[in-house]
């Protein structure tokens, strides 16, 4: 049997893992029985790493060392506006990395963003392994459709650090459409509206015969999601508190974290009720040891007013997607809602109004993306599924030309895989290197687009100017990831390319982070084993000690009885010593001894 491939929806707020069982994908619940796991990572005072619900629970008391919404930072450059924004609002500390990238400081260590994401991926992997009962090494990971190459590459790096072979990166809305239409033999044009915690995507797809899912257009905003709705509520609370007490709650990390929590809770509640109470006693203390409380009522109407423009922005983006697809709104035959935010009534209403139809109720907004990823994974490695996914590149790819202009090579919404070649010539005699700046974006001005890297063709053959012609191929693969290769047209030789100025991690960095992650996993598996043994040992010890008086009563008089009892005492002591020393091997041995002792004691008591 081919190895199972898991599908992971690595969300801004929540992550979800699914796997194909037979012909249907299923979501795998975590140990707590939840189908989604918060995308939160924390490091405790004792240096212990926490991921998921357990990290979320301690977020308020450990705000500075709890990372949430790391996805908003992945693949971004230090000087980007989004990072500036996160710097202002995050309760954890964000610092500049060595490649003008972003690092996160937790306790005394700094982590790259892919590393933080890898911790979540690792958690999802463990959830799957526990469920399946065997190791998992292959995964399909989803990303927002509007992610650029840097963000995709960084996500892939996160997978690698987690020790996962990410066999494919797919777009979240596309994955959702797979789960919606897989095996149903549909023939229709659908729109997928995905508003999650951090990003907004809209994709228009044609689903048709032979299991083909073809994306016609996709667009979005990678910095528009539930977090921004929460921020509006926080602003509202902070401002009114300032007016009342002249205190800026933002200055206090713990207060900020509590506000964040309360805001999200209120937002979710207002999806089902018309008004809710936000109650945060002892939110802050003033200089004179006097505690202040925050108590306010938020109505759905006020919330809708605070976030109206955000909802409108998503509608404008929907318009754009239809324009790009050259389709009229009446040609869309079904609308699929994805992401927790689509539970908000004002969003449902906006979508219904815009598309002129009620959205489909057939998919679960939190699970559908992971399900789709699992379907894609199975379709790739198993031949039996008739399914083809044709996705597009969300951004135009091009190079910088004279006067800092952007020369487009591959337009937006081109079906991938795709490639384009261009010939470069030398402009000086004996020129040995040519520099190409590759970028993605929609602006005519190069500096308004996202620089993917400087590709330097090196070691060119020496010849008079214009005599060396290098054919450079720009390729976007099915992951939506860009690669560039080059060959000398005359000699046909492949040309080496040096890539610089990317914000991504180097291979060496990835390798060392991978090693760290592996060490952590070994340690963690070891800790888990030790923890299990400890619990087992402790209950055995308790049982043995409980039986002690009875055994003494029955055989305490005999020599062999006294021997057995002192031996049992020694085992209990050795067990406690092994626990104290964190000695797994020793503990394992003692557990076996304890089991034998317990059996014997029980036998003695029973025979009496």
């Amino acid at each position: 049997m081919t190895e199972k491939v898991i599908g992971i929806d690595l969300g801004t707020t929540n992550s979800c893992v699914a796997v194909m069982e037979g012909d249907a994908p299923v979501v795998i619940p975590n140990r707590g029985g939840y189908k989604t796991t918060p995308s939160i990572v924390a490091v405790t005072e004792a240096g212990k790493r926490l991921v998921g619900h357990i990290a979320k629970r301690q977020a308020i008391t450990n705000a500075e060392n709890t990372v949430y919404a790391a996805k908003r930072l992945i693949g971004r450059k230090w000087n980007s506006p989004q990072v500036k924004n996160a710097l202002m609002t995050s309760s954890y500390s964000i610092v500049e990395g060595p490649h003008a990238d972003v690092r996160i400081k937790l306790r005394d260590k700094t982590y790259s963003v892919p590393e933080v994401s890898s911790m979540i991926l690792q958690e999802m992997r463990v959830i799957a392994e526990d469920y399946l009962g065997h190791p998992v090494s292959k995964a399909v990971v989803t990303v927002p459709a509007y992610f650029n190459d840097n963000q995709r590459q960084a996500t892939k790096d996160a997978g690698a650090i987690a020790g996962l072979d990410v066999i494919r990166i797919i777009n979240e809305p596309t994955a959702a459409s797979l789960a919606y239409g897989f095996g149903k033999d549909l023939d229709r044009t659908v729109a997928v509206y995905d508003l999650g915690g951090g990003t907004f995507d809209i994709s228009i797809l044609e689903i048709g015969a032979h299991g083909v899912f073809k994306v016609v257009s996709t667009t979005g905003d990678t910095f528009l999601g539930g977090e921004d709705f929460d921020a509006r509520i926080i602003d509202w609370l902070v401002e009114s508190f300032k007016e009342e007490h002249e205190i800026d709650l933002r200055q206090d990390r713990m207060a900020l974290q509590r506000l964040r929590d309360a805001a999200e809770k209120a937002k979710c509640e207002l999806s089902s009720v018309k008004e809710t109470e936000i109650n945060l006693p002892f939110i802050i203390s003033t200089g004179r040891n006097e505690a202040l409380h925050l108590q306010r009522t938020l109505t759905r109407q006020v919330l809708e007013g605070l976030t109206e423009d955000l909802v409108e922005r998503t509608v404008d983006i929907c318009k754009q997607a239809l324009d790009d697809a050259k389709l009229g709104v009446d040609e869309v035959e079904d609308v699929i809602l994805v992401g927790g935010m689509t539970r908000m009534p004002s969003i449902q209403k906006a979508v219904t109004d815009f598309f002129g139809r009620e959205p489909s109720k057939s998919v679960h907004p939190d699970e559908v993306v992971a399900l789709g990823a699992a379907i894609q994974g199975a379709a790739l490695v198993e031949d039996k599924h008739e399914m083809i996914l044709l996705d597009v590149t969300p951004h135009a790819l091009g190079i910088m030309t004279f006067g800092s202009y952007f020369e487009e090579l591959i337009p937006q919404n081109t079906t991938v895989p795709t490639s384009r070649t261009k010939v470069f010539t030398t402009s000086r005699d004996d020129q040995t290197a040519v520099k190409i700046l590759v970028m993605q974006g929609e602006s005519k001005k190069a500096d308004e687009n996202e620089l993917l890297g400087e590709f330097i063709l090196t070691g060119l053959r020496r010849a008079p100017k214009g005599h060396v012609e290098i054919e450079v191929t720009f390729e976007i693969n099915t992951d939506g990831i860009v690669s560039v290769h080059a060959k000398d047209l005359e000699t046909g030789q492949a040309q080496s390319i040096q890539v610089t100025a990317t914000s991504g991690l180097t291979q060496d960095e990835i390798k060392s982070m991978m090693e760290n992650a592996k060490d952590y996993m070994v340690e963690r598996r070891h800790d888990e084993e030790f923890e299990g043994l400890k619990q087992q040992a402790e209950s055995l010890v308790a049982e043995v000690e409980r039986l002690f008086p009875d055994v003494e009563r029955v055989v305490g008089g005999a020599d062999f009885g006294r021997d057995a009892m002192s031996k049992a005492k020694r085992i209990v002591e050795a067990t406690q010593a092994a626990i104290a020393k964190n000695d797994t091997a020793g503990l394992k041995e003692q557990v076996e001894q304890l089991q034998r002792t317990e059996r014997m004691f029980k036998g003695v008591v029973a025979r009496s």
């Binding site: 015969a209 032979h210 083909v212 073809k214 008739e386 006067g403 079906t415 214009g466 099915t478």
Partner: protein, 492 residues
Amino acid sequence: MPPSEEGQLPCPVAGVDMRSLPIGPEEAFVLTRVDGRSSEADIAAATGLDPGRVLQSLRRLVELGAVRYDKVAPSSPPKHERSSVPPGVRISHPVIETKPVQHPDAEHPAAALYDPAELDEDVDLDLPRRRKVLDYFYRLDTATHYELLEVSTQSEKKEIKDAYFKIVGVFHPDKYYGKNLGTFKTKLERVFQRLTEAQEVLSRKATRDEYDAYLESQKRTKRLEQAFRGQSTELEAVRRRIEQEARISDRASHAPPSQSTPPASDPEERRRSLARKLRGSLAPPARNSAPPPEVSRAAIQEHVADELKRRYESRLSQARESQVKKYIEAADASMATRDVISAANALRIAVTLAPDDAALKARFDDAQEKASALLADTYLEQAKYEETNKHWAEAAATYEKVSRGKPSANVFDKVASCLYEGNGDLRKAGDMARKAVALAPKSVEPRLTLAKIYVKAGMKESALAEFERISQMAPGDDTVKDWIKRLKRGEV
């Protein structure tokens, strides 16, 4: 062969089927421009070929008997039907019908296009699959979007989508995940890309209309090009038909002319038979009176033969006249539907059959001029489509064709910039850009193209000089200033 002597021009030799000649495209191209009126220099100008190469081609064509040098009186009518414009072909010919040629290997239309050894590559694909990939891959440049998707030009959007969805599974790389595909990988991807382009173009009304118009104009120009090649055959067929008609009506009333007097198709032979005819008409009338006894048997026989010949000739000229009339009618009909190209083509045949009709000649010249302009317009549409779709090499070639019918600064500039964009022949691009600049020395656009070509060719000084000229002409342009700055700093 030295350049032609004073008063001698290359002329096409009648009745030579161009397709049967062992010549290459360049010679064929030269041959199509040989019309008995153009000098080698004219031909070089018309074809855009180097004069030396034109001479070389002409030499070979003379060797092959397809072209001869002839003295031409300035007022004499053209020696033959060829001219600088490819004639149109009417779909319904007055005389012969064209039948589409059935492809010998209809099942694998591309089979002849690749080396079968390519099928032997060691890859994880079975033979039918490999064959399919190659069949598609090697037809990418010639097949239309419709042909690739195997849909008709009338197919609805839905049919096109279904056809695409059906075929795309064969060519999408995901179907071969983890398999060794060797050189088939890039082939698959190329086919996939093209199929996708085909579906996308055909499934949107605007792009499909554009594409249809492009195909239509391509078909038109192709027809014209074909007509070029088919010209002598058609003319031959008409001539044969004329002779056949003359003979058939002959047979109806008389014995057929003896085998020894074949119909005269060669002008020399025709002249000789005319001489004989004249001699015969001087002889005493032989029709109703018995031959005088003193006349020898041989003389009588000759007389009878001459008489038969005379009648045959007259029927021949009648048949010819009727064909000329048919062609003129066909031309009128074509003109009525504004099909200038077919009209010019029909008139061309008429003129060849009746070379002494000056009025007809004038009409033909007029139609030809119109056709030439129309053809240039058709090519222009085609070129624009190719340009907007970034098929640079094709666009450059088509713009060049436009430039032959309607030369202008803009068109030369287009040839140059398409060559530039498509990484084509930079020297030629430079020539074209210079032509454009020469025609419109005051406009900026061609100069900008030229300057960029200089940059690309590494001719920094020329580029700088050109940019400075542009900068004087358009002092406000920051991009040009930027170029100059960078060129001076040596950043290019």
